[in-house]
């Protein structure tokens, strides 16, 4: 619902900042092909200036990401500069090299939390990341919890670990993790070369109810957070969102409206996950050439979201009853799977309608929605 975002004001409240593209792992599902650092990464002075610019624009929360952000030699200094501005800062690490030194650096930076990437049980995790990486990340989780750092975990669901969601949940609860973000892989970067790992869209029909059930566990100390690429609508919509929110349902991608992504070379995008390659359509500019405020306030910037019109929607999204709320869901997911920002098969509602699962909906599909799949079925038969 673009009007709600517009009324709230376009402001980069949340930033995901790739401090470096350098990484000590080569994960099969890495969307950014992380490995070697970029040739032109911002130096520390430039990074500290970016931190000041974020604060000046009213940023409230920054996630330090990568690559592996702890490979940036001054990640904690950048974090500290941000928290000096009273911005809430966390970091996402693969845990491969997380020692007492990094814990002390996190304390120095006054991080509100650390998050580690854990992609299933041991065999599942190691097969997509690196042999031995499971043991290291578990050790990182344990040492961080023991040190009193608020510790969270991110998990990318793929075809290998999809059956392990409940086990991973129990494992994290037992280990004192306070938050668990669950996301699905999009076939960009390395994952584009591993289609066998990509979760088929119809798997949302069990993943969404399962996450909803885990979120309903009243006495669970760990909160489950479905990422923006998981949803949307149907019977479980409110279970996936914060019920106490004034808008307790999905209102569409916030990239370029309330979220900004910064690459380690200073490229600015509405969301760090959006691709920079091809024609660079999602890159709004570079912080070596322009101030962040100029890029953020540039007329015509972030047009794929800020200037959305209903006519842009394609496929089922064009006839969906929730289309004005949703705008095609997660921009990265839609573009990564179909090449069309506004046609997104990774949608719980769409899959439920397509597969006739009215038991998963909160109201019957509309005539244009059912006709969309009837027509497509007729086309297949005729062919």
């Amino acid at each position: 619902m673009l009007e709600l975002l517009r009324q709230a004001g376009f402001s980069p409240r949340t930033c995901v900042w790739e401090l470096t593209l350098a990484c000590n792992l080569r994960c099969k599902h890495c969307g950014s092909n992380a490995g070697a650092r970029r040739d032109d990464e911002l130096n520390l002075e430039e990074c500290l200036d970016v931190a000041d610019q974020l604060a000046a624009l009213g940023c409230q929360q920054v996630t330090l990401a990568g690559g592996e952000p702890t490979l940036h030699p001054a990640w904690h200094e950048i974090g500290r500069r941000l928290t000096d501005h009273r911005i809430r800062v966390n970091i996402i690490s693969n845990g491969w090299h997380w020692t007492e030194r990094q814990i002390e650096q996190a304390r120095h930076a006054r991080l509100m939390g650390v998050a580690f990437s854990l992609d299933g049980l041991e065999q599942e995790h190691d097969s997509v990341r690196r042999p031995g990486s499971y043991g290291r990340v578990v050790a990182a989780i344990e040492s961080s919890v023991a040190a009193g750092l608020p510790t969270a975990v991110n998990t990318t669901i793929n075809s290998l670990n999809r059956h392990s969601v409940p086990q991973v949940h129990s494992f994290l609860v037992e280990h004192g993790v306070f938050g668990w973000q669950v996301q699905i892989g999009t076939p960009t970067g390395n994952l584009a070369h591993h289609p066998e790992l990509v979760l088929p869209p119809e798997d949302l029909l069990w993943l969404v109810p399962q996450l909803a059930e885990l979120r309903r566990l009243a006495d669970c100390p760990m909160k489950v957070h479905p990422a923006d690429d998981i949803g949307y609508y149907g019977r479980y919509e409110q279970d996936l969102r914060d019920r106490a929110s004034v808008v307790p349902f999905w209102i569409g991608c916030r990239a370029g409206c309330q979220v900004v992504g910064i690459e380690s070379n200073g490229n600015v995008k509405g969301c760090l996950s959006l691709p920079s390659y091809d024609d660079g359509r999602f890159v709004e500019g570079n912080l070596r050439q322009s101030r962040l405020e100029q890029l953020w306030r540039r007329p015509g910037g972030f047009a794929y979201n800020r200037e959305f019109t209903e006519e842009q929607l394609g496929g089922f999204c064009a006839v969906c009853r929730y289309r004005l709320f949703c705008r095609g869901g997660c921009s990265w997911t839609a573009f990564g799977h179909t090449g069309d920002r506004f046609d997104n098969p990774y949608c719980f509602y769409r899959q439920a309608v397509e597969h006739g699962r009215r038991d998963l909906l909160s109201e019957d599909p509309t005539a244009p929605e059912t006709a969309f799949f009837d027509r497509r079925s007729d086309d297949v038969t005729a062919a």
Binding site: A8, R88, G148, L149, F178, D228, S245, V247
Partner: protein, 98 residues
């Protein structure tokens, strides 16, 4: 959550500042029928000033979501700023969804 309930919530928020709110035509008529006053046109535009006195809004719904709006990010309040003077562990602010 049903589509109409979602529109109610959106309407409640937008009508505080917007002169007009554009909603789907069919839904506009459904909203109007709740209060017996034809404030929604078949073009899907609802006139805010006319609607302010119309009793078509579902008060039960709004009672639940009637908290001050936009004092916080869309997906929940940001929580208190970290107490930097406090030792670990310190209170964990509510993380944003996504």
């Amino acid at each position: 959550m049903r589509e109409q309930e979602m529109w109610h919530i959106v309407w409640r928020i937008l009508s505080r500042t917007a002169r007009q709110v554009v909603i789907p035509a069919s839904l506009g008529l459904a909203l109007a029928s709740c209060g017996g006053r034809a404030i929604a046109t078949d073009t899907g535009t609802v006139d805010v000033e006319a609607a302010e006195t119309a009793p078509f809004l579902d008060q039960d719904v709004f009672a639940r979501y009637g908290a001050p709006l936009y004092a916080a990010p869309m997906y929940g309040a940001p929580g208190p700023a970290p107490d930097y003077a406090a030792p670990f562990p310190r209170p964990v602010p509510e993380p944003d969804a996504g």
